[in-house]
Structures are given as structure tokens and as C-alpha cells.
């Protein structure tokens, strides 16, 4: 290990520019991927905020006993798709309508609006099928007059989310592939620059593991440094965007940021292993 570290330091000292270039290339490849990631998480957050407004409203028939409504709410609360159940009395409904309609508040008179059970769904149950199924079950109570959930709106929102997910995955994969190819090429350059050294190592009886270890360490360290640099660049870009937009956009959670740096390290490690492995098979 000590010898391998010495070899890494020697390699850096011998070609500092190539080493720095490697770190910067890794950083910019991951930075491009990071910017895409930022766009993706902000679009996802915006969609999530819209999706949170998906709500099923079941209108309760007049003169329904409070106990029956309470029992039904208890049942509905146990549905696996349901996150939150709320009862809106006719008076509350009137107050809400007046609040939402502002200048038309006078249109409604007391007793015009029915009471309702308002149901919010869990994040993974906001697709049209789940919403429809819950609405149907809620509608089966004898005292429910009508169930509304904006079927068209839910369907379109779901389509939008599906498109955003697919585009995100394809673009993400393309960005990741480009990053991996660029990083692997950079590391391959570093290996080729030391082709002579590798052949001499093999000549004097170095095992494959001995030859490989300095390259693996170098690839790993370059990956980690490139990852941190990319994170810093992404954070700076995010701050500039926030300043330009005038509001705070979402940034990576600490776990996701750590995963990004780890991805850099793994790409560096795997790129080195592949490049040296290919080279070793030839000498």
C-alpha cells in the first residue's frame, strides 16, 4: 500500500498537468450531469406540489347522521392509498367558497353547499386508476351523493409526470454515459502515458495486482476530487440561478450529493480498473 501510494505521488509529480486535467475533466463531466440532476429534481418538486392538490371530494347527503360520517371516515382512513381524511361541514364549505371566490362571495347563501369528506392520497396513489378506485369505493356509501376529483386533470397531470420521468431517465442515462466515456478516456490517457512504466514493472516481475493498485488509487482519488469539484460547481451554479430567479430552487439532499461524489469515485475506480486491465492483457 505504501509503495502504491508512492507510485501515485510519483505519477502526479511526473505529470501534474495530466493529473489536474483528469480531475477537471471528471469534475466537468459530473458537473454537466449535476446540472441536469438539478433541473430534474426541481421539475419533480414542482410536479409534486401540483400532485399534492389531487383530492377526492365526496359530498354527503343532507341529514346524514354525524356518527355515520365519522364511521365512514374511519374506514376511509384505513384505505392503503389514503393519506388524510377531513370532514368539511356545510358551514365550512360555505366559508371556503366565499374565501376562494372573493368578489362573488355573496352568490352563496347559507345551506346551499353540502358537507363533504375531503380525501388526500399518498404520493404513490395519485395515478388515475388509484384515484378512480378510491373514488368508487367512497361513492359506494349510501349517504354519499356525489364524488368529484377532476378526472381529466388527474389524467393529464399523470401523463405529464410520466413524460417527465421518461425524458428524465433517457437524458440522465445519456448524460451519465457521456460522463463515463469522457472519464474513462481521460483515465486511459493516464494509463497510456505510463505504458513504458507498466511494461518495466511487468519485466521485473511485478504481479498484476502490484501494477494495478497505484492506478486504482489514482482513479479513485481523481474521482473523489472531481466529484467534490463538480458538487462545488453545481452549488455555485444553483446559487447563481437562485439569485437570477429571485427564489430558492431545490438543491441535492446531502445523501444525493454524497452519492454523486461516490459515483465519481466509482467511475474513476472502474475506469482505471478497465484501462489497466486491458493494458495488462497486452503486456
Amino acid at each position: 500500500m505504501k509503495l502504491a501510494l508512492r507510485e501515485v505521488l510519483l505519477a502526479v509529480r511526473r505529470a501534474p498537468l495530466l493529473s489536474a486535467l483528469g480531475v477537471v475533466t471528471i469534475a466537468f463531466s459530473l458537473f454537466a450531469f449535476g446540472l441536469f440532476g438539478l433541473a430534474a429534481i426541481n421539475i419533480r418538486d414542482a410536479l409534486r406540489r401540483v400532485e399534492e392538490r389531487v383530492e377526492i371530494r365526496a359530498f354527503v347527503a343532507d341529514a346524514t347522521p354525524v356518527e355515520a360520517v365519522a364511521t365512514a371516515m374511519g374506514d376511509i382512513g384505513t384505505f392503503p392509498e389514503v393519506a388524510h381524511v377531513d370532514y368539511v361541514s356545510p358551514d365550512s364549505a360555505l366559508a371556503r367558497a366565499r374565501r376562494e371566490l372573493g368578489e362573488f362571495a355573496d352568490v352563496f347563501e347559507a345551506g346551499v353547499l353540502p358537507g363533504s369528506i375531503d380525501i388526500r392520497l399518498k404520493a404513490d396513489a395519485r395515478d388515475p386508476q388509484s384515484v378512480k378506485a378510491v373514488a368508487a369505493r367512497v361513492g359506494s356509501y349510501s349517504f354519499i351523493d356525489d364524488v368529484r376529483y377532476g378526472e381529466d386533470w388527474v389524467t393529464k397531470l399523470y401523463q405529464l409526470r410520466t413524460i417527465a420521468t421518461i425524458v428524465g431517465l433517457v437524458l440522465g442515462l445519456a448524460f451519465a454515459t457521456v460522463a463515463i466515456i469522457i472519464i474513462a478516456t481521460t483515465i486511459r490517457m493516464a494509463v497510456l502515458a505510463r505504458e513504458r512504466e507498466i511494461s518495466i514493472m511487468r519485466l521485473v516481475g511485478a504481479t498484476d495486482a502490484f501494477v494495478r493498485s497505484p492506478f486504482l488509487i489514482e482513479g479513485f482519488v481523481k474521482g473523489v476530487l472531481g466529484g467534490f469539484l463538480a458538487l462545488l460547481l453545481t452549488w455555485l451554479a444553483s446559487s447563481l440561478i437562485d439569485r437570477a430567479l429571485g427564489f430558492q430552487t431545490a438543491f441535492f439532499a446531502p445523501g444525493a450529493a454524497a452519492m454523486g461524489v461516490l459515483a465519481g469515485a466509482l467511475i474513476g475506480l472502474a475506469g482505471s480498473a478497465l484501462s489497466v486491465g486491458r493494458h495488462l492483457r497486452r503486456v
Binding site: V204, G205, T207
Partner: protein, 262 residues
């Protein structure tokens, strides 16, 4: 020790480089390998240190067989043989001492034992005073001596030298050749590929001649073993007399090389 049995080697692009070669090199022998460029000398040597594998036939070196060779065997074998080349193949960013030490380090030798052994080897090749010099600060002959020290540092049973004097002037050539003779006299076999017929003529060592990938001549002589023994005895006597650096001269009656077709 080294045995090639009906060995052929073909390269995908350039075709047949070795054609049905069988040869045996015994322990402690000094063997010249000669022939024009492209005759297969380097290929034969590469087969011996297992940089290449034969297309047909078998190469056996110190218990390692090319037919059953595993990747790990190559590293183990190379620690038992030393190789030097015309272009020295030193690591340019390390001193002479570090270059020699490197060959010990890769074998996992105890770090405390390395400096003394390296110093001893550099003294043996006459470069004790230039241990801290980088290759660019050394002459061609000196660089080749560093390469020889590196090749010897793991106490190999054979030293394989591919045109070791090819890049050297006459004086350096004589010095390096003398060093190889001393190494051989101390018991290490030497297989040396060379174009330098003058060197071959001035010594009485066995000579293998290659032409178009075939072994066309071998001066194996029954007296070779006897002469090798005599040289070793003379070397031992010189060492006992406290004159280990001096080398026994070649016998005056060394005949001119006469190659005999097999």
C-alpha cells in the same frame, strides 16, 4: 533449465517469426544468439521470458511450461530471470539506486534489506559513485550497467540480454561484455542476442545462429562445459585472491567462430 521443443511462433500480421526451433540452454552456460535483423532472435528471447507464447511447441523455463502457463506464473518466473535490452528500459524519473531497488520492491522484499543489496549490485557493476544519478545523467554504457544491476538484483539463474551493446560505443561494449562474462563466471547463465560478430569471435562461448526464424547453426562443443568450469574456477581463484573485480581473460587459443549447420 531453458528448453524449447519444436517451437514455432507466428504473429497475426507479420507471419512466421520462429519456425520449429528446438534448443536447450544448460545451467551456467553463456550462449550467444546471432543472426540478421528479423531472423527471430528477439522473438526467441521473448518466448523465454514469456512475453510471448508459442504458436506451436513448448517452452520450458525453470519448471514453468508455456503450455500450462498461468498469468501469475509470468511474474514469478521473471523474478527468477533477469532481462536487459538495447534501450536499457530504465525509469527516467528515478535514480540508478531507485531503478535497481524497484525490482526488489515489486517482489515484496523487506525494505530494510533493499539498500544494502542495491549498493552491493551497483558496486559490482562499477557504479557505486553514481547511485544517485538519474538515467539522463549517465552514459549509455552506465545506463546499461544499471539495467544489468537491476536484472541481477533478484539473483536470477539466467540473464537474458537482447542486444545489450547495440547502442554502445566500442569501449562501453567491451565493458558491458566483460561484466556479462563476470556474471556468467559467477554461475549465472547468460543468453545474449547480438549482431556483434567481433564479440563472438573473441570468445569461445556457444553460439546459436538464426536465419528466417530457423535455428541454422549451434556451435555446441563437448568442451564447452569444460571451458565454462575452467572459467568459474579461475573466477573463484581470483575472488579468493582478493581480486574479485578482475576478470579472467579469455583463453589465448580461443578459435575463430566456425558455425556448423545442424
Amino acid at each position: 533449465m531453458i528448453r524449447l521443443v519444436e517451437v514455432s511462433k507466428a504473429y497475426p500480421r507479420t507471419g512466421l517469426a520462429l519456425d520449429d526451433v528446438s534448443v536447450h540452454v544448460a545451467k551456467g552456460e553463456f550462449v550467444f544468439l546471432t543472426g540478421p535483423s528479423g531472423s527471430g532472435k528477439s522473438t526467441l528471447l521473448k518466448l523465454v521470458f514469456m512475453e510471448e507464447r508459442p504458436t506451436a511447441g513448448e517452452v520450458r523455463v525453470s519448471g514453468v511450461n508455456s503450455a500450462t502457463l498461468k498469468r501469475g506464473d509470468v511474474a514469478r518466473l521473471r523474478r527468477k530471470l533477469g532481462v536487459v535490452f538495447q534501450d536499457f528500459r530504465l525509469l527516467d524519473d528515478r535514480t540508478a539506486h531507485a531503478n535497481v531497488a524497484f525490482a526488489l520492491e515489486v517482489t515484496g522484499a523487506p525494505p530494510t534489506a533493499i539498500p544494502a543489496k542495491v549498493n552491493r549490485l551497483l558496486t559490482q557493476v562499477g557504479l557505486a559513485s553514481k547511485a544517485q544519478a538519474f538515467p539522463r545523467e549517465l552514459s549509455g554504457g552506465e545506463q546499461q550497467r544499471v539495467a544489468i544491476a537491476r536484472a541481477l538484483v533478484n539473483d536470477p539463474f539466467v540473464l537474458i540480454a537482447d542486444e545489450p551493446t547495440g547502442n554502445l560505443d566500442d569501449r562501453a561494449t567491451r565493458g558491458v561484455f566483460q561484466l556479462l562474462r563476470e556474471i556468467n563466471a559467477a554461475g549465472t547463465a547468460v543468453v545474449m542476442a547480438t549482431h556483434n560478430l567481433e564479440l563472438i569471435r573473441r570468445s569461445d562461448y556457444r553460439t546459436l545462429e538464426m536465419l528466417h526464424g530457423r535455428l541454422v547453426a549451434d556451435t555446441t562443443d563437448p568442451s564447452v562445459a569444460a571451458r565454462a568450469a575452467a572459467r568459474r574456477a579461475a573466477h573463484d581463484a581470483a575472488a579468493r585472491a582478493g581480486d574479485a573485480g578482475a576478470s579472467p581473460a579469455a583463453p589465448d587459443d580461443t578459435p575463430d567462430l566456425r558455425l556448423t549447420a545442424q
